[in-house]
């Protein structure tokens, strides 16, 4: 019978191969899903994975969608490396979007670069404030950050719902739950003419670079890595666990808040109840598939963005609900976690011992 046997040491090769195995398994799962739904699997595959990026506009949309994912994922990865489980990026993104919108609406009809700069700052601070709550409760009262950060997602959703039904509602908007459309001074400049790809993509690439330097070139990043692999060693070495919790949560919150800003000041151009499209949760998958590595995050975000665009195409051309994207995303993470077993184990054929 087949048995798992522990490898003498972890396989470097498998730790890179297992995300690829997971992607292949996800694709096979997708083909089966399309078949089960009575759709031609090859056609479904084309609609989902090829149509969205068949022209240059599609590619620009891919980078646009990947932007908030990169921002959230790099912030989360910093914490995940030290086993700080911030899973509330969704809420931090919303609050960042709210804070940035507040600035945009406050400076309505005012010109100048200060509006956008303040929006960036407000977005990041908004996300950090929301992440401070689990950080404070964890360090002060030892409260589980997973549950607290997650509960705050629901609170953030209700907060934005209240704001767009009340204080932030467009006074001339016929009572639709949305804000005014932002002025040009509160919108991020477009990078490529004729597309919606905007400056936020450069923020995302910059954040990946800074994240890389922090993780691999700074002492604090090293400490966090040690704490993740060997918590006891980190404790004996006297690394401050509290500081790591703060760094982990604040980086996640700040980046998620920036992602929220990039949504309201980018493709949305206003704030509505739907600031986020599950980016905060999808970014968790991105971080894992990328092995918490900034280069990996770049490519995993593009893949995840493709799943989003594919879902929209599937809705349009195959009459399938766009939530099919979430099914693919969930499958991907599940397959990844399953195939990770081969990093430390290998399969051996063994005679059953009677």
């Amino acid at each position: 019978m087949l048995r798992l046997e522990r490898r003498p040491e972890a396989s470097q090769l498998m730790s890179y191969a297992s995300p690829l195995i997971a992607i292949v398994l996800m694709l096979i799962g997708g083909l089966l899903l399309f078949t089960a739904l009575g759709k031609d699997p090859i056609e479904g595959f084309k609609v989902f994975f090829l149509y969205p990026i068949s022209d240059s506009y599609g590619v620009s949309e891919l980078f646009l969608k990947a932007t908030p994912l990169m921002l959230c994922a790099i912030g989360l990865a910093v914490g995940f490396r030290a086993n700080v489980w911030n899973i509330g990026a969704e809420g931090q993104l919303i609050v960042g979007g709210v804070a940035a919108s507040a600035v945009a609406l406050f400076f309505y009809e005012s010109e100048g670069a200060h509006v956008l700069i303040l929006m960036v700052v407000a977005g990041a601070i908004g996300g950090m404030l929301w992440a401070m709550i689990p950080a404070f409760l964890k360090t002060r009262f030892n409260t589980n950050e997973i549950l607290v950060s997650l509960m705050l997602v629901y609170v953030a959703q209700l907060l934005v719902s209240w704001l767009v039904h009340g204080p932030m509602m467009d006074p001339d908007g016929f009572n639709f739950p949305q804000s005014r459309l932002f002025e040009d001074s509160a919108l991020l400049p477009i990078l490529v003419e004729g597309t919606r790809l905007n400056l936020a993509f450069s923020f995302a690439v910059g954040a990946l670079l800074v994240g890389y330097i922090f993780m691999y070139r700074s002492f604090a990043g090293f400490q966090m890595q040690v704490a993740g692999y060997a918590p006891n060693a980190a404790r004996y070495a006297g690394f401050s666990a509290k500081r790591m919790i703060w760094i982990g949560l604040l980086s996640g919150g700040g980046m998620a808040g920036l992602a929220g800003m990039s949504e309201v000041a980018g493709p949305m151009g206003q704030i509505t109840e739907h600031v986020s499209n599950n980016y905060g949760f999808a970014a968790i998958i991105v971080a894992f598939v990328a092995r918490l590595n900034p280069v990996g995050i770049f490519f995993a975000s593009l893949l995840m963005a493709l799943l989003y665009l594919g879902g929209e195409q599937a809705q349009q051309y195959l009459a399938l609900p766009s939530s099919i994207s979430n099914v693919f995303q969930g499958m991907l993470l599940m397959f990844l976690l399953g195939s990770d077993v081969f990093i430390n184990y290998r399969v051996r054929w063994k005679e059953a011992v009677a």
């Binding site: 030892n142 409260t143 509960m151 629901y154 949760f281 099919i324 979430n326 099914v327 969930g330």
Partner: protein, 310 residues
Amino acid sequence: METSILSSILFATIVAGTPLIIVALGQLVAEKSGVLNLGAEGMMAMGAVAGFAVTLHSGNPWLGVLAGMLAGAAMSFIFAVVVLTLMGNQVASGLALSILGVGLSAFIGKPYESDILPTVGAIRIPLLADLPVIGDALFNQQALVYFSWALFAGLVWFLYRSRPGLVLRAVGESPSSAHSIGYPVIRIRYMATIFGGAMAGIGGSFLSVFYTPLWVEGMVSGRGWIAIALVVFATWRPFRVVVGAYLFGGVMVAQLFVQGSDWDISIPSQLLSALPYLATIIVLVIISRDRNTVRLNAPVSLGQPYRPEA
């Protein structure tokens, strides 16, 4: 306050607390065996959509509950394979299960979003239901309310009075000792995890078949996570799970009553709707404040992968 209002608040509190009891007790069993499954939200969502669809097509709510149970169990089986056989990270796999379940349920449930199920009648227990104030609230209830009490009683007996329950707890406290005296640790954890999934599925189907009774994407709205928090809050004790669940049921109901009343209050409804989530955070703070409370009560091997070295 009039007794009729008090009685209806009590009634609604018990109804709102019931899915939390069922889901949290299921999680408690899984956690007692050492398995932390953060996928309750996804399993509840799958239970809700399966329960709704089957009830709609068959016209039988009990087949719906059965379908919900099977859907939850199937989800937890996937989780069990990943974390028990393939030794995946339990926290990450539970998150993945939540994302997968919420997404898959939205996908499956899309065609059902405009349907409504007929209301299922309550079961009235003669004599007891005639008691003033508490009679209706306690003894003229949905069958699953009685089920949640039976589940509680059964679990208390199982965990603390039966031999298999003792073995289950031993597996959670020290899997290597349990293994060395010959207990099949992995198989026991499989069973406990699948039991937890089945209960989450029943809890989910209660929402869509009895409580609302309709299906909307995201209708579980954090109840799975609240159930997980409840187990911590209850320091892994069944009785406290029940008390805590009714406490939360009360918070959920209170905001509905305030919103529905004609009291002139200027609190935005969204703030009131946030109360259950804020209450969850507050109770977690209270219970975690003393480091030892959680540490001494949590099953020792909770969340740790275990692989018997043959």
